[in-house]
Point group: D2
Chain length 253, copies 4
Amino acid sequence: MIRKGDFVLLVSEEGKEFLLQVDENKIFGTHKGNINLQELIGKEYGITVYTTKGSFAVVRPTIYDFIKRIKRQTQIIYPKDIGYIILRLGITSGSRVIECGTGSGSLATAFAFAVKPFGRVYSYEKREEFQKLAMENLKRAGVEDYVVLKLKDAREGFDEKEVDAIFIDVKVPEELVDSVWESLKPGAPVGFLLPTANQASSLLRKLNEGGFVVTELVEILLRRYKTNPERLRPDDLMNAHTGYLLFARKKEK
Amino acid sequence: MIRKGDFVLLVSEEGKEFLLQVDENKIFGTHKGNINLQELIGKEYGITVYTTKGSFAVVRPTIYDFIKRIKRQTQIIYPKDIGYIILRLGITSGSRVIECGTGSGSLATAFAFAVKPFGRVYSYEKREEFQKLAMENLKRAGVEDYVVLKLKDAREGFDEKEVDAIFIDVKVPEELVDSVWESLKPGAPVGFLLPTANQASSLLRKLNEGGFVVTELVEILLRRYKTNPERLRPDDLMNAHTGYLLFARKKEK
Amino acid sequence: MIRKGDFVLLVSEEGKEFLLQVDENKIFGTHKGNINLQELIGKEYGITVYTTKGSFAVVRPTIYDFIKRIKRQTQIIYPKDIGYIILRLGITSGSRVIECGTGSGSLATAFAFAVKPFGRVYSYEKREEFQKLAMENLKRAGVEDYVVLKLKDAREGFDEKEVDAIFIDVKVPEELVDSVWESLKPGAPVGFLLPTANQASSLLRKLNEGGFVVTELVEILLRRYKTNPERLRPDDLMNAHTGYLLFARKKEK
Amino acid sequence: MIRKGDFVLLVSEEGKEFLLQVDENKIFGTHKGNINLQELIGKEYGITVYTTKGSFAVVRPTIYDFIKRIKRQTQIIYPKDIGYIILRLGITSGSRVIECGTGSGSLATAFAFAVKPFGRVYSYEKREEFQKLAMENLKRAGVEDYVVLKLKDAREGFDEKEVDAIFIDVKVPEELVDSVWESLKPGAPVGFLLPTANQASSLLRKLNEGGFVVTELVEILLRRYKTNPERLRPDDLMNAHTGYLLFARKKEK
C-alpha cells in the first residue's frame, strides 16, 4: 500500500518515467495533465491513474530508479557499470565493503542494497557537502542504515580491516593502493573506475608493484533502443564513455 | 582457511585464472609447472604458491568466477548482462524471483546470490538434462539452498504468485506473457533476453497488448583491454552480441 | 593561393574547426577575437592568422570538411558510412553510379569526388526542394560537374543502364529492388542504408527473391576521443546509430 | 568478359565468398561440389554456375574484395578504417600521397584505387620481404602502375615534397613527425594508425610541438549482422580493435 512519504514511479504509456514522493496537497503536472499525488495514499502499487490526456502506471521504484534519478553534484557511476561491479566484487548480503569517494552516493546506494540486511558499506569522502547529498540520496532509497559515511582522507588509511571488497573512484587512485592493500582480506577483490587511459596505465604500474594481481580491465557500453515494434532501432545518441573499470586481487607482498 | 572440497581461483602473474576444487592427491598441471592442490588444505586464501617457472595467487572465487566458468550445454547469460538485470529488476536479499528457462543455471546462480539468505529463486525448465546440470552448477557455487528448480512448461503458468520480479530467457517469449502477468506483483518488473531483433519486435507488440508498460530495450557491450601499462589497448576480439534485454512493468489490464 | 570565393577551414589551437567562404569585407567573429577574411585573399593555405586571444591555422578544406558541414534539411549520411560505402561498392575514377534519394547531397558530393574526372553520379530525388539544396552543396564542394541530378520517382525505373554501382537511401527500399536490378551491370554491387531492423528484414526477403545475393549487413560506429595527451579518453557522447548498411550483388534471375 | 588470368569472386547462395584467378585446367573444390574455372573463360560477369549441390554467382571483384582477401604477413589496415582514411585525407583522382610503411600493401592498394589514373602513391617500407608481397598484392588488384614502392627508412625523410596527404602506420610514429612536416603541402592533412593508447598520447605531444594542429582522434567499429531476415541479429564475435586513427593538419612552425 502507498503511504504518505513513499516514493512512486509514474510510467506513461510511452514508457516515460517520473520518480515522485507522495504527499498531501501535492500536484504533479505533466504534458498530459495533472496528477493529484495525495489521491495515491492508501492505493496499491500497480494501479493506473488517468489524466485528462493519458494515463500512468503507478509502480514501486526499484533501486535502479533511485540511482538513475539520483540528485547529483558529481559525475555518478552508471547502472551499466554498477551491476557489473557488484558481480565482479562478489558483493552479497552480509558483505563488508569499502568505497571511496562517496560523491553523490549512487554506488553506496547500490552497494547498500546488495549487502543488506547484515552487511555494511563504509563510504569515504573528503568533501562534506558531498557527504550530505549522499545521505539525502541514501535516505530517499531507504538504505541509509546499511552505510557508514566517513569524512576522511583515505590516503591515511581506511579504519576497517579484513573487508570483503573495495571500490575506488577518486582522481589519483595510485595514492590509495597501499590503503587498499592494508584493509582487504587476503585474496579479496578491488575495483577502480578510471576516466582516462593515462590513469589506467599509471594504476596498472602501481598495482603490479603494490601487492596486487590484475584480473581485468574493461569498459561497458549500454546502447538503448527505441521501443516501436514496427521501427526497431537504436537511439540516435548514447553515452560513449563513463570510465574504464579495473579489477585486481590482493596477493602476498 | 581452505578445506578439502573448497574451490580456489589460481591467478597467474599475467592474470590468467583457473577455477579448481581442492582435493587430496590432486595435481594441477600448468604451462608454468605443477601445483599440488592437496598442499593448499589448511592454508589461507591470498597466499602465493610457487611452481618451477612462476607463481600463482590463490584466491577465493567470487560469484563472478563461478558464473564465468560454469559448466554449460547451452548459451549462457553473461556477467555483463546479469549485473544489469539484477539492478534493473531490483533483486535484493529477501526477494522472491521467478526465472525461465534454467538452462545451465548461470542466471539462477547469480539470482540466488542476490536474494540470499531469505529470498528464493524459482527456476523453470522443460528439459530434465539441463536441470541436472544447473543443480550441479548451483552446488559448486554453494547457493543451491536458495533455488527451487521446477521441471514444467511455463506456458501453463507459474506456481508462485505475487513475486517481486521475473526474468524470461526462452525461444518464444510471447507465449509466456500471460503467465508472467498472472504471477507478478502489481507494478513489478519483468525482464527478457532476446537474441534477435525479430523477437524483440514480436514481444513488444505482445507486451503492449498484454498488460505491460515497456520501460527499456537495451544491449550491453563489454570490451576488455590488455593490461600492459606501456601498451594499453583493447583486446582484438570481443563478444559482439548475446541478446537484447527488454524490461517492462506489470500494469492494470 | 587563396582567392575570393574560395572556402577555407580555420582550425583553432584546440582543434575547433570553421568552414568559411572568403570574401571582401567579411569579418568572422570567434570566441578568440575577429578574423578579417578579406586579408586571406592572395595568401597561401597553411598560414596562421592571429586574433587578439589566439591563433588559427588556415587550411584547404577536404571533401570530408564539406560533407561534415553540409547544409542539411534531411538526415545525412555520415563520413564513417560514406568511406565504407565507396570502398564496398568499388567506386573509383571513371565509375558510373546511381544514387537515390539525393537528400541534402552529402553522398552525391562524396561519390562525385570519387568518380571524377571521367565518371558520373546520377542522383534521383522526388522532392524539388532537396534537389536545390543538394546542388548548392555540390557547388560549395566544387563537384557539381560530375553529378546529374534527376527529379523522378525511381519506382518507375532509372534512366541509366549497365551502371557500375547503385546506392539506395529511401523510406521503402523494397520498392526499388526491381529498378536496381534493371540498371546494374551483371554481378555489380548495390548498397542500402536502413534506419530500422524491420526495414533490414523486409529488404533481405525481397532481395533474396529479386535476383540478388546478399554479401553483407553491417553497422559502423565511430567513437571520437578527446585529444589531451595527459587525459586520453573517449568523448562523453557519440552517435549511436545512423543506419544499417546492406550490400548485395546482382545475379542472374 | 572473363579472360584467362582474371580474378572472379564466387558468391554462394548463403553469401559465402571466394576470390579466385581464372586459369585453364583449374578446378575449385567447394563444400557444394567442384567448379571448373576454365569454363568461365569467355563468359560474362554476373552469370550463375551450378555445382552438384548448389550454385554460385560469378561477379567481378571490387577493390574491397582484393583488400579483404589480401595475402598478408603483417597486421593489415581494415576496410572500415581505409574508407574513412581516404575521405578524411581528401584523397581523390590525381592526388599525390605518401604512405609509410607499406606492410602487405592493403592501404597502398586502396590509395592507388583512389588516386588513379593521374595521381601517385609513394609507399615507404624498410623490410624488402614486405615490399615484394605488397607488389604481388598490387598486381592482383591491377593497380601497380599507380604506386611507387620505396625501400627506405623514412626517418631520413621522404623524397617527395609538397604532397597532398600522408598516412603513417609504423611502430614509433613520433620519429616521423619531422619527415611528414617537410613533405606535406602547407595545411595538408596527415593520418596515423596507432594500436595503443600510449602511442596516441606520445604522438599527440609530439604533433603539438612539431608544427601540426590535431583535428581528430577516433576509433571505428564495424559490427556485422547475420542476414537471415527472420532472425536478424549481430554476429557473435567482432574485431574489437585495429587501432586509433589520428588526423592532423600541417601548420606554420
